[in-house]
């Protein structure tokens, strides 16, 4: 992955300033995610590849350093390199179906 090159003119910010701007947004999204996981617990059946992918992404949120979004998107990506012969669908599901 390419190294970031910070946008010149980006104002320096303290964590407090970032929290002022975006904490409430992050808060409601985290609660929505928690509610989604609770909803899964109340439902029957096992995890499909999407839910497995989501569970595998959760520890990445607590890793140190920048680049969490890229790491999660990469985790969910098809790791193969060659074109496939044919697809039986036009749609994507959000997580590579082959994820373990």
């Amino acid at each position: 992955m390419s190294s970031p090159h910070p946008l010149s003119g980006t104002p320096p910010r303290s964590r407090e300033q970032v929290a002022e701007l975006h904490f409430m947004d992050a808060r409601y999204k985290l609660l929505d995610l928690a509610a989604f996981l609770d909803r899964l617990e109340r439902a029957s059946g096992g995890d499909d590849h999407r839910i497995r992918g989501l569970r595998q992404a959760l520890p990445l949120l607590l890793e140190k350093g920048d680049g969490r979004v890229a790491k999660i998107l990469s985790l969910w990506s098809d790791p193969s390199a060659a074109p496939i012969e044919k697809s039986d669908t036009k749609a994507a599901t959000g997580v590579w179906p082959g994820i373990k």
Partner: protein, 272 residues
């Protein structure tokens, strides 16, 4: 504030959207050819669609004072049918003479199949033959990283395509760096549910500063927001970016890329 909407599928939008975009500062709109949400059964359907893009939609936009431009292709979602795709490719050259056509797009891949690759390569050859700009659609979600790499390989393998004349759209955090490092322009698409939100887009901009990035709403018939670009500008303003930096991103950058096509006229120059 002024901005260019470099990627909007206005044939699927209402006049209320044109009104909202104009009121938010939109100065010009560019419409790539895309998938209608269902597969068209014949090249005749595409002939009509290209007429709509080159003749009818510019008139509809003009009622709101908006210059309207378009890109032509068969979208990768319909290129699995190679025979149909070849018929559509044969139609395109006659429409390239239209004064509002910007180039070939949005071409690319959807599920990264061999047939999609074949038609992508033919589109690239067509663009080279007629000296056209290229607008690339990268696949959705889990197929994006692989597809983006395959597309860049195909563009490089052509040997003639100049990366500065290609914009690779729908980049996200895991693809933007590779696209910019390869010398291409990168488009960040702002969607409420998939692709990037305005907040993530501004994070990417702050991390990958580049003069080769544009923002677009890609508003279409699905869940999308025709005024997503000014919302991202608002996010930049909240974070303390200057008015000049915002203008450079949402107006200056698309004008610089699109001005490589002689059909595109800087709206500011038109008004002066």
């Amino acid at each position: 504030m002024r901005y260019i909407e470099p990627h909007g599928h206005m044939v699927s939008r209402t006049t209320d959207d044109y009104q909202a975009m104009t009121m938010a500062g939109c100065a010009a709109i560019c419409e790539p050819a895309f998938w209608a949400g269902f597969d068209r059964k014949s090249a005749d359907g595409f002939y009509d669609y290209f007429c709509q893009l080159t003749q009818h939609e510019p008139k509809r936009a003009a009622k709101f004072g908006l210059p309207h431009y378009c890109w032509l292709c068969i979208n990768p979602k319909e290129s699995e049918d190679v025979a149909l795709a070849n018929d559509v490719l044969a139609l395109i050259p006659q429409f390239l003479k239209s004064p509002t056509v910007l180039g070939i797009g949005e071409i690319g891949l959807n599920k990264n199949t061999r047939n999609e690759m074949k038609i992508l390569e033919q589109h690239i050859e067509l663009a080279v033959k007629y000296d056209q700009l290229i607008l690339v659609h990268t696949p959705h979600l889990e197929d994006k990283r692989k597809g983006t790499r395959l597309i860049m390989d195909a563009l490089k393998a052509n040997g003639v395509v100049k990366p500065e004349r290609v914009i690779i759209d729908h980049v996200e955090e895991h693809t933007i760096g590779e696209v910019l490092d390869a010398g291409f322009w990168a488009g960040i698409t702002l969607y409420p549910e998939s692709k990037a939100t305005p907040v993530r887009a501004v994070d990417m901009l702050e991390n990958f500063a580049s003069q080769r990035v544009w923002l677009n709403s890609a508003c279409d018939w699905g869940v999308s927001d025709p005024i997503a670009v000014p919302k991202a500008a608002q996010e930049m303003r909240r974070r303390g970016h200057s008015a000049a930096a915002i203008d450079s991103l949402v107006y200056g950058n698309p004008v610089r890329f699109l001005s490589q096509c002689p059909n595109f006229k800087d709206p500011a120059a038109l008004k002066s």
